[in-house]
């Protein structure tokens, strides 16, 4: 029972991610890739994403401290960051990335910095949510993780 309940909760949690715009379709693609051979695929990928992107965030932070800003470089970093975020379906983070790049193109330092702060916030929020999600999924039982539970 508890398990079922947990699973139900998990499903709800998952659904909220989509409803609230934290995740998009791409996440489902990842879920579909998960199978018996890779039962924790999604979690692995997300973990990898966070690890790799934290490096990028650091680089961008440093670059934003320069004066004047090197928009080209910033844009490059952001392009990479956006690519990763897109691949796991981090919708809000991706939106911030796009915004950031717009400001870069416009040469708007203020806009860039502001957007980046926002981006980091979204990034952190998503990270927390997903960590909770995976933890619960593990508890609920490997076969019943979000995958396949398409709503």
């Amino acid at each position: 029972m508890e398990r079922n309940q947990m699973r139900r909760q998990l499903a709800l949690m998952r659904q909220s991610f989509f409803d609230q715009g934290f995740l998009d379709e791409q996440f489902i693609q990842l879920e579909e890739l998960q199978d018996d051979a890779n039962p924790n695929f999604v979690e692995e990928v997300v973990t990898l994403y966070y690890r790799d992107s934290s490096r990028l965030i650091l680089n961008i932070d440093q670059a934003l401290e320069r004066n004047p800003l090197d928009f080209n470089k910033l844009d490059n970093y952001m392009h990479q960051f956006k690519g990763s975020s897109t691949s796991i379906g981090a919708k809000k983070v991706k939106a911030e990335c796009t915004q950031f790049r717009e400001y870069c193109k416009a040469g708007n330092s203020e806009g860039c910095m502001r957007t980046f702060q926002q981006l980091k916030k979204e990034y952190a929020i998503l990270k927390r949510k997903l960590e909770a999600f995976f933890q619960q999924a593990r508890q609920a039982g490997p076969l019943e993780t979000a995958c396949r539970s398409r709503n």
């Binding site: 693609q29 990898l48 790799d52 990479q80 956006k82 690519g83 990763s84 691949s87």
Partner: protein
């Protein structure tokens, strides 16, 4: 297919090992497709890998382009397809794409989060066979196997037709390589641009694809049979159907004959129209005038070609022509199938195209192009006679200059005094692969026009005797004349250098008034190929090939200018020009070329009257040799040209010469026929 030809040959999956493009694909296919995925983003890489595995492909992932390249190099046949990201820190994705296309000729799919039109366009022009927008969905990956099949199919076809491996086919990208278009457009046939030249690439590929059609390898014998049939029927009455009947060769289709005839006609026209070097194209066309006059700068030729190909405004061409030869620029509608090829030569000699195509970038002016130029150098009169049916095989391909220039520019190197077969320099070696394929094929059909024009050769020669030939292939022409053109890329002058041949032949011939040229015209085309090949290979030989075809001096300067042409002019055509590179050699080349032409002429149309018997012999001899030597790949090409000459003697002589003279065209050429594989990346 596997074939040996394609590097990428892939034997997909275990079961597929040799499935030919047009054959049945192994049952398991596409399972087991060996994919190499390159992306610096680890997250994406892992996701892609998983997706591909789900599609049952064999995946190898790599996060650095350099590593990927070395993996590919180490194991050339280890992968079937490559998927690469555009933005990577250590190497630009497009650059990797080019490298792969050049070296391995594998289909490459680009991906990026960037979906801007420019970027996608860049992918297309660089030869990517597909472009995926990130995030990539698994559905998009499920179908990537089609690119593998398609490529193989094309390669196989090319092989079949040209007998040479066409690496470049590549993909739509392939091709690339030839920078015809670009050069043509710019008026400078130098195809030094490599694949980078987007334009070229696009065109190249286009050409290739357009040209793809089952090709028949026109061996010397076959060509001779063809010419005999044509002569028997009378050039006016020679219709493909009848020719086919007369030839009575099993497996030969009317279509094959028709396209060959077209080329032959161009060749003849070119021979007669050689006189105009500038207008090379025109000159070829009008047999009567063959005023080779000074080929003056290939540019003229180029123009023709260009114009013909539609790239240059007709006017300019006309001007060129007028300037050059004062011939009637009849651009007689050179059929130039080559036009497709982007060949600059487009000018009339479809034949030339062949040469060029075949040669594909003769980076070095391989003597191959000898024939290319042949047609051109012929003096007006001669051309007229040659005209008879000789399709001006663009010949002259003197390709001479294979500079490393990218083949695409069909430089009509012929321009140089010796109508060097224009070497279609496929632009950029990168295109090499591409071109070859395209060229190879079309050669017969398109005569890779001009592209091949050995730029190199021609450029230089111009100094000398004026190219007369400014091969119709215009593209080529420009080269020789200027000599400078790097003929890089040796555009395949093979055969295609019809222009060159014209151009080149003109040069030297004009002085000699060789009627011989006509004969050589025929050769030229064939040599062009060689030239191209050579050119492709030898940069230094730029001129070699050019003259080869063309200079058949009646006197037969057998001595290969470059030393290659020991054989009578035919071979030398290329050699003559090979004055390697433009300098100095030109003179020789021209002489040789002249000899060649004369030889050629004689053989060809029977005009040989001028030729000394010796020459004929040489030619005959050459022809044989040529074949042998011409690079294995080129073989197909050379044969094509040799065929043109129809004149048994001529061809053989030329061939032989080429082979012998060229001093191993084979080595030079490496080209597989058309493939410019050798183009170093």
């Amino acid at each position: 297919m596997n074939q040996s030809n394609c590097k990428g040959s892939m034997s997909t999956a275990s079961s597929s090992t040799n499935w030919k493009a047009n054959d049945v694909v192994p049952d398991q296919f596409p399972a087991g497709l060996r994919v190499l995925v390159v992306d610096d983003d680890p997250t994406c890489l892992v996701i892609l890998e998983k997706m591909l595995r789900t599609c049952l492909y064999e995946v190898t992932k790599c996060n650095r382009a350099e590593v990927a390249l070395s993996m590919l190099r180490e194991n050339k046949n280890g992968f079937d397809i490559v998927i690469s990201d555009v933005h990577m820190p250590d190497m630009d994705g497009f650059k990797l794409l080019e490298h792969i296309g050049l070296e391995m000729d594998l289909p490459v799919i680009m991906m990026s989060a960037d979906d801007g039109k420019q970027v996608v366009m860049k992918g297309v022009t660089h030869g990517a066979c597909d472009y995926l927008i990130k995030p990539v969905r698994i559905e998009a990956l499920k179908n990537i196997w089609q690119h593998v099949v398609r490529k193989k199919k094309n390669e196989w076809k090319d092989l079949e037709q040209s007998g040479s491996v066409e690496e470049g086919d590549r993909q739509p990208k392939l091709s690339e390589d030839v920078d015809y278009s670009s050069s043509a457009n710019e008026g400078n046939w130098k195809n030094s641009k490599k694949r980078k030249d987007e334009e070229e690439e696009t065109e190249e590929r286009d050409d290739t694809s357009t040209l793809k059609k089952p090709r028949v390898v026109w061996s010397v014998e076959l060509h001779q049979q063809f010419v005999a049939a044509v002569n028997q029927l009378g050039i006016d009455k020679a219709v493909p159907k009848k020719i086919l009947e007369l030839m009575n060769v099993p497996g030969l289709t009317r279509e094959n004959v028709a396209s060959h005839l077209q080329k032959y006609r161009l060749y003849l026209r070119r021979l007669s129209g050689v006189s105009q070097h500038q207008g090379m194209n025109n000159s070829f066309m009008s047999p009567q005038d063959a005023t080779f006059g000074a080929m003056s700068s290939l540019n003229g030729l180029d123009l023709q070609t260009l114009s013909v190909t539609g790239q240059l405004p007709a006017q300019s061409l006309a001007t060129l022509q007028a300037a050059g030869l004062g011939r009637s620029t009849t651009k007689s509608g050179i059929p130039m199938p080559l036009v497709d090829q982007r060949n600059l030569f487009s000018f009339e000699n479809p034949k030339l195209r062949f040469g060029e195509g075949q040669q594909q970038q003769m980076s070095s002016n391989k003597p191959m192009n000898l024939l290319h130029g042949i047609p051109t150098t012929m003096e007006p009169k001669q051309l007229a006679s040659l005209h008879q049916s000789a399709q001006s095989i663009g010949s002259m391909n003197m390709q001479v200059n294979t500079h490393g220039g990218q083949g695409s520019s069909l430089l009509m190197q012929m321009a140089q005094p010796q109508s060097r077969g224009q070497i279609l320099n496929e632009s950029t070696s990168s295109h090499g692969p591409r071109l070859p394929s395209s060229i190879g094929q079309p050669i017969m059909t398109n005569g890779i026009a001009g592209g091949v024009i050995g730029r190199n050769g021609i450029g230089d020669n111009s100094r000398g005797t004026g190219y007369n030939q400014v091969p119709p292939s215009s593209s080529m022409l420009s080269f020789p004349m200027n000599h400078t053109t790097e003929l890089a890329g040796n555009s395949f002058p093979l055969g295609s250098s019809p222009g060159i041949s014209n151009a080149t032949s003109k040069g030297p011939f004009q002085e000699e008034g060789n009627s011989e040229m006509k004969g050589s015209a025929g050769f030229i085309s064939s040599y062009d190929i060689f030239n191209d090949l050579n050119q492709h290979q030898h940069k230094s030989h730029d001129w070699e090939l050019q003259n080869v075809g063309l200079h058949f001096d009646a006197s037969q300067n057998a001595n290969p200018i470059q030393g290659n042409l020991d054989v009578s002019p035919s071979v030398l055509v290329h050699q003559g020009y090979s004055s390697s590179q433009r300098s100095g050699q030109n003179r020789n080349a021209s002489a040789v070329g002249r000899a060649m032409f004369s030889g050629v002429e004689c053989v060809e149309q029977g005009n040989m009257q001028n030729f000394s018997p010796h020459l004929n012999n040489l030619l005959v001899d050459n022809s044989i040799r040529v074949k042998a030597e011409t690079i294995p790949d080129a073989n197909s090409q050379t044969t094509l040209f040799t065929e043109h000459f129809g004149q048994d003697d001529l061809m053989s002589a030329l061939l032989k010469q080429q082979q012998g003279g060229i001093g191993t065209a084979e080595t030079d050429f490496d080209l597989d026929g058309y493939s410019m594989d050798n183009i170093p990346v």
